[in-house]
C-alpha cells in the first residue's frame, strides 16, 4: 500500500515539476534564512555571554590587608549567586600580567617590583544588571581599596548604558530574527497550502473516484500528505545544507575577525552539533507545516459538494 502512495507522489511531482520546484524553492529559502538566523541568534548570545562572563569587576585590595580578610571577601563573593568566576590575583601574578602586557618593551617590567602592584579579586556577574548593586556592596568592604571595571562596562558612569546597549542588541536580534523567521515560515506555509490545494483541486475527480470505490479518508489523504512532507523535508534539507556550507566556508574568516570573542565554536564537532539541533528543529517545523497545510487543503476541498 505504501508503495502505491510513494509512486503516486513520484508521479505527481514528475507530472507537475514546476509547482514542485516553486514550493521547494520557497521552503528552501525560508529554511536557509531560518538556519542562518538561528546561527546569528546563537552568535549574539555567545557575544553577550562573552561580555557577561569575562572578568568585569576588579576589587583592588589594600596593601595592608591580611590573607584571612582577603579569603573572607573571596568566600563571600563565591557564595553570592549574582557573582561568578571569582579569582584572586596576587601581587606576583599582577606583575606577570604586567610583564606579559609590556613584553614588547622589557625595560618597563625590569624597573618595577611586585610591591607596587596591588593584589586584587576579579569576578564577573551572572547578569550585568547586578553590576551597580554588587559593586556598591564590594566598595564598602574594608579590605577593598578601589574598584576597577573592564572596558566592556565602560567605567562606572557608562555602566547603565553598556548594559542597556547589550540588552538592546540582544533583544533586536532575538525578537527581530524571530519575527522575520515567523514571517518567512508563514509565507512558506501559505505557498505550500496553496500548491497542495491546487494539487488537490486538480485531483478532485480522482478523490471522488477513490471515495466511491471505498477508499477511507486516510487512504485519500496519505499521498497528499506524503507529497507535502516530501516538499517540506526537501526544503528543509536544501536550506539547511546551503546554510551549513555558507557557515562552514565563512567560519575561519568570522573567527579571525572576531578574535577571542567566540561567535562561532572553533571546534567543528560542536558546530555540527549546533547544526544538527537546528536540523532537528527545522524537520519538526517542516513536518508541522506540511501536515497541517495538507490536511487543511484536503479538508477544504472535501467539504465542497
Amino acid at each position: 500500500m505504501k508503495n502505491i502512495h510513494i509512486k503516486s507522489v513520484a508521479d505527481h511531482v514528475r507530472r507537475s515539476p514546476f509547482q514542485a520546484l516553486s514550493v521547494v524553492f520557497v521552503l528552501s529559502v525560508s529554511f536557509f534564512v531560518a538556519t542562518v538566523l538561528s546561527i546569528l541568534v546563537y552568535s549574539s548570545s555567545q557575544v553577550i555571554k562573552y561580555f557577561e562572563t569575562r572578568p568585569q569587576v576588579i576589587a583592588f585590595i589594600k596593601g595592608d590587608a591580611k590573607t584571612e580578610e582577603i579569603n573572607l571577601l573571596k568566600n563571600k563573593l563565591l557564595r553570592d549567586e549574582r557573582v561568578k568566576d571569582v579569582r584572586f590575583v596576587s601581587k606576583e601574578e599582577a606583575l606577570e600580567i604586567y610583564k606579559k602586557a609590556t613584553s614588547d618593551n622589557p625595560l618597563l617590567s625590569e624597573l618595577v617590583s611586585p610591591d607596587i602592584f596591588p593584589a586584587s579579586v576579579e569576578f564577573s556577574l551572572t547578569d550585568l544588571s547586578y553590576a551597580e548593586e554588587v559593586i556598591g556592596e564590594v566598595k564598602k568592604e574594608q579590605v577593598v581599596d578601589e574598584i576597577g571595571f573592564t572596558a566592556s562596562l565602560g567605567g562606572e558612569a557608562g555602566l547603565t548604558d553598556a548594559v542597556e546597549r547589550l540588552r538592546s542588541i540582544s533583544w533586536y536580534i532575538r525578537i527581530g530574527g524571530g519575527i522575520f523567521v515567523t514571517l518567512l515560515l508563514t509565507t512558506s506555509f501559505v505557498v505550500l497550502f496553496v500548491i497542495i490545494g491546487m494539487r488537490v483541486s486538480t485531483r478532485r475527480g480522482e478523490i471522488k473516484i477513490l471515495d466511491l470505490i471505498g477508499a477511507t479518508p486516510s487512504f485519500i489523504r496519505s499521498p497528499i500528505i506524503l507529497e507535502a512532507l516530501t516538499y517540506s523535508f526537501l526544503g528543509v534539507f536544501i536550506g539547511w545544507i546551503s546554510a551549513l556550507l555558507l557557515i562552514l566556508y565563512s567560519t575561519p574568516m568570522v573567527i579571525s575577525y572576531f578574535g577571542e570573542i567566540p561567535v562561532l565554536p572553533s571546534d567543528t564537532s560542536r558546530l555540527l552539533l549546533i547544526f544538527a539541533i537546528i536540523l532537528a528543529a527545522e524537520l519538526l517545523i517542516g513536518f508541522f507545516l506540511a501536515f497541517t497545510g495538507s490536511v487543511l487543503a484536503v479538508s477544504r476541498i472535501r467539504k465542497k459538494p
Partner: protein, 230 residues
C-alpha cells in the same frame, strides 16, 4: 442480499425516487430500467451510500445502511463493486495500477495482488493492455477495466450504472456477456440501463422505474402468477 423498503428521495421539489421497495437475492442479475431521469442512478447511488434516502430503509446483507455512520461508509463500498457509465478510471495510472488500487484500498495482502490482477485481466481480456494509460484505451476496454477493478476485490454485490451507455452494440454486448460470466460465478449484479436490446436479450429479472416509482418488477409478477396458478 439487498432490500429496499419504501425508499423515497427528493431533490428540492423533485421526487427522484418515491416509495420504492424491492428485494434482490444472492446471485441474481437484475436490470433496473426506465427512461432518463426515472431515478435509476439515484437508486444505485443510495445503495452505494453516495446519497441518503429521505425515508425508507436499504438493507445490505440484512443491515440497514441508511443509519450507517459516515466512518463505516468506505467499508460498505469496499464490499460493493461498482461500474460507472463514464468508467471513472484514474487517468494518471496505468490499467494495472487502476486495478491494483482497489486491492490497496481493501487492504488485500500484497502477495495476492499479482494473481488476482492477472486473473481479472485475463477474464476481461485486457492482459495485453495492462501497461497502457486510460487515454490509450478504447471505450470498451475502459469499461472492461472498470469491471475488472470492481471484480478484483471479490465483492458481494456489483452495481453497474449504465455501463453500456457510451458503447456501440457489439462492445456493449461483449460487456454484458462478461457481466453474465461474473454473475455465473455467484455474484449479485444490479445494472441500471435503458438499453432495450440488452434488456430483451439478457434480462432475467427486470425492475422498471418511471418518474421515481416502481412500475414493474418481473420477479414480483412471476411470484404473483405462480400464486394465482397454485
Amino acid at each position: 442480499m439487498l432490500e429496499l423498503i419504501s425508499v423515497t428521495k427528493t431533490f428540492g421539489r423533485i421526487k427522484a425516487v418515491e416509495d420504492v421497495s424491492f428485494s434482490i437475492d444472492k446471485g441474481e442479475f437484475v436490470f433496473v430500467t426506465g427512461p432518463s431521469g426515472a431515478g435509476k442512478t439515484t437508486i444505485i447511488k443510495m445503495i452505494l451510500r453516495d446519497l441518503l434516502p429521505d425515508s425508507g430503509q436499504i438493507l445490505v446483507a440484512g443491515k440497514d445502511i441508511t443509519d450507517l455512520p459516515l466512518k463505516q461508509v468506505p467499508f460498505l463500498r469496499q464490499k460493493i463493486g461498482v461500474v460507472f457509465q463514464d468508467f471513472k478510471v484514474l487517468p494518471e495510472k496505468t490499467l494495472r495500477e487502476n486495478i491494483e488500487i482497489a486491492l490497496a484500498i481493501c487492504a488485500v495482502d500484497r502477495s495476492e495482488w499479482k494473481d488476482r490482477v492477472d486473473n481479472v485481466l485475463e477474464i476481461t481480456n485486457l492482459t495485453k493492455r495492462q501497461k497502457l494509460f486510460p487515454s490509450q484505451l478504447s471505450g470498451g476496454e475502459l469499461q472492461r477495466a472498470s469491471l475488472a477493478r470492481a471484480v478484483v476485490v471479490n465483492p458481494r454485490i456489483i452495481l453497474a450504472d449504465e455501463p453500456t451507455g457510451n458503447l456501440d452494440w457489439d462492445t456493449a454486448d461483449s460487456i454484458i456477456e462478461l457481466f453474465k460470466r461474473i454473475n455465473a460465478e455467484g455474484k449479485t449484479i444490479i445494472m441500471a440501463t435503458h438499453h432495450n436490446l440488452i434488456i430483451k436479450k439478457y434480462a432475467d429479472r427486470l425492475i422498471e422505474i418511471n418518474k421515481g416509482r416502481l412500475v414493474n418488477d418481473t420477479k414480483k409478477k412471476k411470484a404473483d402468477k405462480k400464486d394465482n396458478t397454485d
